[in-house]
Amino acid sequence: MRLPRALLALTAAAALAACGHRDLSALDPAGPQAGRIAALTWYLVIVGSAVFVVTTGFLLYALWRGGRRVENYSGEAAERHIHRWIYGAVGVTTLILLVTLIYDFTTGRALASFAEPDALTIRVTGHQWWWQVQYIDPVPSNRFETANEIHVPVGRRVRIEVQAADVIHSFWVPNLHGKVDLIPGYTNTTYFRADRAGVYHGRCAEFCGYQHARMDFLVIADPPAQFAAWYRNQLRSAPAPADSVQQAGQQVFLSTRCAMCHTVRGTEAGSRVGPDLTHLASRTTLAAGTLPNIRGSLGGWVLDPQSIKPGAYMPPNPLEPDELHALLSYLESLK
């Protein structure tokens, strides 16, 4: 009986250890704020565990000792002894709570006072079920829009303005910062900074309907030079079709349902209902982290999104095989 239980505990511990997803973990901070949050978390876990161990120890001791009589334990001396313990325990508890309160307060204050006027400003709008990302610049020609993938330069503060287009969502990149809610009709602001290059996963952290679980995004922290190159490329309009197949694909895009919802800058497609597809091929996922951005999944997604992400607002697109392949070639050329 004893061995199976120990095995079970070991298996559970192993399973828990496997839960760690390095790119989606508040305990693996990549920025100063996530670092503060992680430090506070560890502090609470360690102090809480210590308190638990000590109080449980006293309880067990009392149970073990309870059965025995103590001779001559009465009178003033005993009273003083008891009081010493009670006052001591209350004092230690108050001290621990006070230190925790102060630590928590200073952490909250540090998180909230991370603002900087000349931070890179990115406006993130939550839709059911994808993320619209707009890079805001004082110069209008330096603004552009993308979706589900946020590139940021390493070491620079980023100001995120979040909005919601339909229902409430929540913007959460555990490796960089805590959550911030997206409220329809209201703009929330948060700041973060990525201190090491890497790809960090983000997730919608507020239930928002059928496909809440498939509403992911990526924050990609690039070294400044690489970020500048990416930014310059995103500013460009979509490249013109390079061959006749892509040309036909562009025709399919513009003459069927695609153009009703999507924008490809540099063409007549300028609708703002669905994600901007100007540089679709430069992104790594499709449908807000649901699929890898490869030709096969792109084709499946275009033809029948409802089998992949039921309830998503993209309708099925019945295309002839040659139309589909032309369209896919065109979409893959949107680097």
Binding site: D166, P184, G185, S255, T256, R257, A259, M260, C261, S271, V273, L303, D304, Q306, S307, P310, G311, P315, P316, N317, P318
Partner: protein
């Protein structure tokens, strides 16, 4: 001992009645696969005489007309696909004809409205053939008809999709029907 005045069968009867009520509670089933992928079911273009348009026998017509979800989706498409650009949010009309009155140049049946959107109409209404999925089209038709109160009252939209000040759109209080 506590005295009760209720007859002994009252409690089981109440339980039964509650069970019957609970059985009546049913979440509306929403299917996301109305149009099987690969199916194209647009009616053929009508190029003959001037008339209210052909009537396609689509069994799903009624479903969409009486479904509040379909109407509200139709309202979303109405704004997103820029129907509102000509017909105004709420269907008051502008560059395009008003949709909140009782005048229907090309017919007010769901099939007529469907044909109007798919084929377009002279003097400005473009054809949306191939641009909008059938499901979305029928949802749009349901919304357009709801603006003048042609769908059941409980499907009418109580609000706009966007923040607005002042009173909600006309769908909640349709214009009086002209004779």
């Amino acid at each position: 001992m506590k005295r009760t005045f209720a007859p002994p069968y009252l409690r089981p009867a109440a339980v039964l009645a509650l069970a019957a009520l609970a059985a009546g509670c049913d979440l509306e089933q929403r299917s996301f696969q109305e149009t099987p992928p690969g199916a194209t079911a647009f009616p053929a273009v009508q190029t003959t005489d001037i008339q209210a348009g052909p009537k396609s026998a689509d069994p799903s017509v009624g479903v969409y007309q009486e479904n509040r979800w379909a109407v509200s989706q139709g309202q979303t498409w109405y704004e997103q696909f820029n129907c509102a650009g000509c017909h105004a949010p709420g269907g008051g009309g502008g560059m395009g004809v008003p949709l909140n009155d009782a005048e229907w140049i090309y017919g007010s049946d769901p099939e007529n409205v469907f044909a109007t959107i798919v084929e377009g109409r002279p003097n400005g209404m473009p054809s949306f053939r191939g641009k909008i999925s059938n499901t979305q089209l029928w949802q749009l038709v349901a919304y357009v008809r709801s603006i003048s109160g042609l769908t059941p009252r409980d499907t009418w939209s109580p609000r706009n999709d966007h923040m607005q000040e002042g009173r909600p759109n006309r769908a909640a209080r349709p214009e009086p029907q002209l004779p």
